[in-house]
Amino acid sequence: MRSLRSVALAVVLTTCACGAALAQTPAQPPIRIGILTELSGPLGPSGAGQRDGFLLFLKKNGNRLGGRVVETIIEDTGNDPQTTITKAKKLAESDRVDLLMGPLSSANGAAVRNYLIAQKLPTLLEATVDEIGDGKYIFRTSFSGNADSYLQGYLPGKAGFRKAIVVAPNFNAGQTGADYFERGFVAAGGKVVQRILPRLGTPDYGSVVGQFSAEADVGIIFMAGGDAIRFVKAFADYGKKLPLYGFTATVDETLLPAQGKAALGFTGAGFYFSTIDSPVNRQFVADYQAAYKQNPAWFSAGGYIAAQAIDAALMRTGGKVDDREAMVTALRGVRLVTPAGSFAFDENHNPIQPRYVMQVREVNGVIQPVILGVIPEFKPVAEPPTLPAGLVLPR
């Protein structure tokens, strides 16, 4: 952990113009940071991972960010947009938080965005639908949905597949995911022959798998949480031989133990996997394992990065949070080395960080994401990406 701290500190120091920012005044009251995400419902385990990633960095840092003592106030969105707004109002107006780590679900992120912008509350969230961002108060520490879905559709096209079935859940993130899968796949020379949008929380994916067109040569899949487990298992049960590509949350590392061999062969790209081979990440995985007895997944990394970003931004403001404009400017300028690699915000406050192309494989008896190649500085825009030289995409 010491190495991670010193690396992070070195990066901050080199980018931080004023050394005086590190000066601390001991008698300051704690900074209040609200955590508002999905802690129950189908996305509960993912939101809990986001929270745990944030708290892990905080704990490692002696409960301080940017030198200031931090008080966290944790609230559950209940995966309900209306509740999310109520809880956001409580955090902003009654608890008077200085900063917020916001939801993972795009449905709840979309519900609460206008309120947060009106409150001018600097927010770091993981919700992926692009329209939630405002390029001002809202920062994303996960990834922007459009660009990633585009990439995930582009990959099977580049692998040589021509006719795809697209499956995604029928809510805002899933719908735009399906649209951008198609754009990416078409850009790489393919054609979508079937598009299925089941309800999130469909109890039995047998009927979805049962109607797959025989014409298709690849499936491009967007699933998450319990739905992802049921889908992947149902797919394997039917003895389908169709290769699967898509959104890597479909096979994230909290789900793989339940999916088992049924997940083998799934290919996609994402910003974080616990198998990323870097000293910073090895340390992060070891710490996370020690604290929570499981592997971190992308949402845990996103929570950790949010804490890192706040830490670095507070260094720049000298620990001041009262001036919201200065805080936003400071956040916009952070450069980090995170477990996921190098990190910076673009002009829309989406992260610029690497993308790892991976396939689920069995290595030494452990079913895990195996990284096939890295796109070093992935810009969050939906256009044909430059794939790493020598990348062999599975067929």
Partner: protein, 284 residues
């Protein structure tokens, strides 16, 4: 053609899980007028207990038996210690079971965590088989068989045994059964435990298909209530017909209009209730 075969079989396998689940719900209501809101919790506990036992012992059968017995004992305890004190008070009984639903959901979350898990299938039922030229999962065929087996067993139990006769008599006129010197509280406890056990069996059978996760109790309870309402409260035959209707409609609905899948289950319920307010096999 394969579309029809696969979706019909899918519908039937979901219907059989729903039948096993809702048979208990409808019997308990028929005999005791208890609308058991915690019925989904018994399903959840059944699935989770089976999951733990199978992981520890490697035997599906051991998991199935342990889960059903454990949940039956829990059901007997709940009926004896709590519900019996509220005999014939329908609203307090429903509120009590609603409270149990929340408590059991939290306890299950505490014990088994928030990640969705699948109950492992018995090894002999892994993989796919060919039916009329279409590849189809063996486990789902086995579920259809199990569901039919349970249906026949229930029918024999209710129609051909002394206990069944007592239960039917209790449904028609509890006071009269009591006056004849029959120990009706014992029958009540037994029936509640039996219903809980059926829900647990539903959890074990449905676990490999639908998975166990926080909120699974609400999801299946919703479908079970639709089944029981469509079929007619208190009727096992109704639960069977209702399950077939809901299972098939849910599957073909999901295949044809995936974005409306919950809607396609509720609409037939509204239509059935508009034409036959007592349900398909309900008594007035």
């Amino acid at each position: 053609m394969s579309f029809w075969i696969v979706n019909t079989l899918n519908g039937l396998s979901l219907a059989m899980v729903l039948f096993v689940l809702s048979a208990g719900l409808t019997l308990v209501f028929g005999l005791m007028q208890i609308i058991n809101m915690a019925h989904g919790s018994f399903y959840l506990l059944g699935g989770y207990i089976a999951l733990s036992v199978i992981q520890a012992s490697g035997s599906f059968l051991a998991g199935l038996v342990t889960a059903c017995v454990a949940v039956m004992l829990l059901g007997a305890g709940i009926q004896r210690l709590m519900l019996q004190r509220l005999h014939k008070q329908e609203l307090p009984q429903s509120l009590l079971t609603l409270g149990l639903l929340f408590i059991i959901a939290d306890v299950a979350f505490w014990l088994w965590g928030g990640n969705a898990q699948l109950v492992p299938k018995p090894a002999v039922l892994e993989g796919a088989m060919t039916i009329l030229g279409v590849g189809y999962p063996v486990y789902r065929v086995a579920i259809i068989g199990m569901g039919l087996f349970v249906a026949v067993l229930l029918w024999l139990l209710l129609e051909r045994t002394r206990v069944g006769a007592l239960v039917r008599a209790g449904m028609d006129d509890e006071e009269m059964v009591r006056a004849m010197g029959i120990n009706i509280p014992l029958i009540f406890t037994g029936m509640f435990a039996f219903g809980a056990g059926l829900a647990a069996l539903g959890g074990v059978l449905g676990g490999p298909l639908l998975g166990m996760f926080p909120g699974a109790d609400f999801e299946v309870a919703l479908l079970a209530f639709v089944v029981v309402t469509v079929g007619g409260l208190g009727s096992v035959r109704g639960a069977f017909l209702g399950s077939l209707l809901v299972g098939l409609v849910d599957n073909f609905g999901a295949a044809w209009f995936p974005q409306f899948s919950l809607f396609t289950v509720i609409v037939p319920m509204v239509i059935v209730l508009a034409i036959r307010p007592t349900g398909l096999a309900g008594r007035a």
